[in-house]
Amino acid sequence: MTDAPVLQVDGLVKHFPINGGLLQRQVGAVKAVDGVTFSIRRGETLGLVGESGCGKSTIGKVVLKLIEPTAGRIVLAGEDVTALKPGAMWTHRRRIQTIFQDPYSSMNPRLPSGTIVGEPLENFGIARGAARDDQVAQLFRRVGLRPEAMRKYAHEFSGGQRQRLGIAKALSVNPDVIVADEPVSALDVSVQAQVLNLLIDLQEEYGLAYLFISHDLAVMRHISHRIAVMYLGRIVELTDKRTLFTQPLHPYTEALLSAATAPDPKRRRQRKKIVQGDVPSPAKPPPGCHFHTRCLYATAECRVTAPPLLEVAPGHHVACLRRPVGGDPGPLSIPG
C-alpha cells in the first residue's frame, strides 16, 4: 500500500429532484449523498456499509461517473474527473471498473462469454483477434474458469461462475480501482467464500483498490481494510475495521453491530440496544443529526445541529456531537 490515494472524493453531493404539481416543477430533492469525503489507496479496500437508502450505491455510480454529481470533487489517479464529459471520461474508464450484484443482467445473452469478457480489450484498443483470445483465456484461468468455457453463453454458467466472468471483464483493462456493489449478496454462502477469496487474491496480486459496497457486516469485516458507515446520505463513522468492530463510537454503528446475527446460539438474547423504528425517508431526513430520531443518546442539541465528521482519534472519524475530539471513548450516558 502506498500513501498517495488512487481515488479521492471531496464533499460529494448527489441530489435527485422530486417533481410534483400540475406543471411537474421541482418541489424537493432526495439528498441521496449529502457531503461525503473519503480516499482509497492502492491495494486498499474501503468498505461502504449501511442500510437501504443510505446512499452507498449512489456513491458508487457517481464515482464511476454513470451519473453526474450535484457538487463535490472526484480525483482519479491524480486527475480531477469531476467535470469531464462522457467523451473525455471514456479514456479514464480503463482506470475504474465495476462489478455488479447480478452480472447476468449486464451480459448479452447472444454472445459467447469469451466475447463478453474480451469486449473491453477491443473497445480500448488493447488487443484484437488471436492476441485478444489469448488474453481472455489467461483471464479465464486467473479467475478460476476453464478457457474452453469461452465458447459458452452466460446462461450456461452458475451464479458464482457468472460473477467470475464479471470479475474477469473488470480485470481485463488492468484498472486501478474496482467499484464492487454487493458482489456476493446474491450468492450462496459456499460460493460466496470462493468469490471473496478470489477478490482478495487479485487485490494482492495487482494492487487493486476496491470500493466495496455492502449491507453485510460480516462480509465487510472480512474484506475491508477501512470501513465507512453511512446513514441517510452521510458518513457517520470511518475508521480501520479493527477499531470499528472493537470500539465503535457512533450510536448507529453500535446499533448495527448489535443487530447483526451471529451463527452462535449462545449469543442469542445477548443483543441489547436494538434501535427501534424505521429509517426515515431520504426525501425528508430529520433536521440536525439524521440519526437522532432513533438514537438512545440524543440530546436537544442533536435535534438541531448537524454533527460534522471529525477525526476524534488518529484515523478514527466520527460524526456525533457526543463524541468530541479527544473525548472519552467509553459508553455514552442516556440523557435523563
Binding site: S158, Q192, A193, A218, A259, A262, P263, P265, I274
Partner: protein, 337 residues
C-alpha cells in the same frame, strides 16, 4: 395451546417433483421430520436444496401444472394433508396453519386497506361479524407493535415501510391463532436493524401464543438466534438434524461443517488490522436435480468421500441425543474435529 401429546406436524418420506423441459426435478427427495407443539424448527440450506418446496408442500401450494407431491405423508394434528381437497385445505390455510413469505408486498392486496385484509381472514375462518373482525385486526396490529394502530387500519400496503408490512403479515398470519406458522425467509429482504426487530417479535409472540414456527432460511445467524431444532437440507435431502446448540457446537455432516467455515464471522476475535484470513471454500457445485443421485449427494464435493459414499445413499443415524446425520464417514469427520 393444546395439551395433546405428539407432534403437531409429521412429514414422512416426502417426495415433491417438478416436470421441466430438462426432465423431472426431484426438488424434495425423501424428507421426514416432526414439528413439536410450540417449538421453533429451522430448515436451513442453500438455494435449490428444497427447503421452500418442503414448505409449499406442507401448505399444498405446489403449482399443479408443473409440480406434484409424488409420494409421502404430511400429517397435521394426525390428519393427512396430502389427500385433502382444495376446499378443505383453504379452510386450514391462514387459520390453523399460516404462513409468511420473504416479500410481504407480493402477499398483500394493494387495493385493500390493512385492516380489511386482516379482518377478512378472521371473518372467513372464524365466522365472526365484520365489526368483530375489524376489532381483531386492531388488536393484532397492537400485538405486533405497530404504533398508532387505529389509524394504520385504514392505510394501504404501499403506505407502509418494508418492516411494517412484514409486521402486518405476521399480524394477519396470527389473527386466527394458528397451531403452526411457516415463515419462509421472513427477514431476508429487510435491513439489519429491522430484521432484528422482526426476529425478536416472532420469538416473543411464539412464547405468548404457543404457535409452533417452521423457519426456513439460508442464514445460519438467523437459525442460531431463533430456533430450537434445525434440519439441514442439501440437494432435496435432509443431511443433518439436531438441537440448535448441538448443531453449532459440533456439526457432524461435512456439508454443515463446510457451510459454517465458509461464512465470514463477526463474533470471533477481531483479527489484526490488515490481515484477512482465507475463508474455507466448499469446492464444486450443487448437483443437477434432474439426474438421479446415486450415493450421498454431497460426495462429489466432500473431502471425506469414499467409494461407498459415491455408491450407497447414507441413512440418517442417531449420533446421540437426537443428533441425526446422514454420513457414512461420520466417525472420521468427528475425529477430524
Amino acid at each position: 395451546m393444546s395439551g395433546a401429546p405428539g407432534p403437531i406436524l409429521e412429514v414422512r418420506d416426502l417426495h415433491t417433483q417438478f416436470s421441466t423441459l430438462d426432465g423431472v426435478v426431484r426438488a424434495v427427495d425423501g424428507v421426514s421430520f416432526d414439528v413439536a407443539r410450540g417449538e421453533t424448527l429451522g430448515i436451513v440450506g442453500e438455494s435449490g436444496c428444497g427447503k421452500s418446496v418442503t414448505a409449499m408442500s406442507i401448505l399444498r401450494l405446489i403449482p399443479r401444472e408443473t409440480g406434484r407431491i409424488a409420494s409421502g405423508s404430511i400429517k397435521f394434528e394426525g390428519e393427512e394433508l396430502t389427500s385433502l381437497s382444495e376446499e378443505e385445505m383453504k379452510r386450514l390455510r391462514g387459520h390453523r396453519i399460516s404462513m409468511i413469505f420473504q416479500e410481504p408486498m407480493t402477499s398483500l392486496n394493494p387495493v385493500l386497506t390493512v385492516g380489511t385484509q386482516i379482518a377478512e381472514n378472521v371473518v372467513r375462518h372464524l365466522g365472526v361479524s365484520w365489526k368483530q373482525g375489524r376489532e381483531r385486526a386492531f388488536e393484532m396490529l397492537d400485538l405486533v407493535r405497530i404504533a398508532d394502530s387505529r389509524r394504520r387500519l385504514d392505510e394501504y400496503p404501499h403506505q407502509l415501510s418494508g418492516g411494517m408490512r412484514q409486521r402486518v403479515m405476521i399480524a394477519m398470519a396470527l389473527s386466527c391463532d394458528p397451531q403452526v406458522l411457516i415463515a419462509d425467509e421472513p427477514t431476508t429482504a429487510l435491513d439489519v436493524t429491522i430484521q432484528a426487530q422482526i426476529l425478536d417479535l416472532m420469538i416473543e409472540l411464539k412464547e405468548k401464543t404457543g404457535t409452533a414456527i417452521v423457519l426456513i432460511t439460508h442464514d445460519l445467524g438467523v437459525v442460531a438466534e431463533t430456533t430450537e431444532r434445525v434440519v439441514v437440507m442439501y440437494a432435496g435431502r435432509k443431511v443433518e438434524q439436531a438441537p440448535v446448540e448441538a448443531l453449532f457446537e459440533e456439526p457432524l455432516h461435512p456439508y454443515t461443517r463446510g457451510l459454517m467455515r465458509a461464512i465470514p464471522r463477526l463474533d470471533v476475535e477481531a483479527d489484526a488490522a490488515g490481515t484477512r484470513p482465507r475463508l474455507q471454500e466448499i469446492p464444486g457445485l450443487v448437483p443437477i436435480l434432474t439426474q438421479p443421485i446415486v450415493g450421498c449427494a454431497f460426495a462429489p464435493r466432500c473431502s471425506f468421500a469414499t467409494d461407498r459414499c459415491r455408491n450407497e445413499r447414507p441413512p440418517l443415524v442417531d449420533a446421540g441425543a437426537g443428533h441425526l446425520v446422514a454420513c457414512w464417514e461420520v466417525d472420521r469427520v468427528r475425529r477430524a474435529a
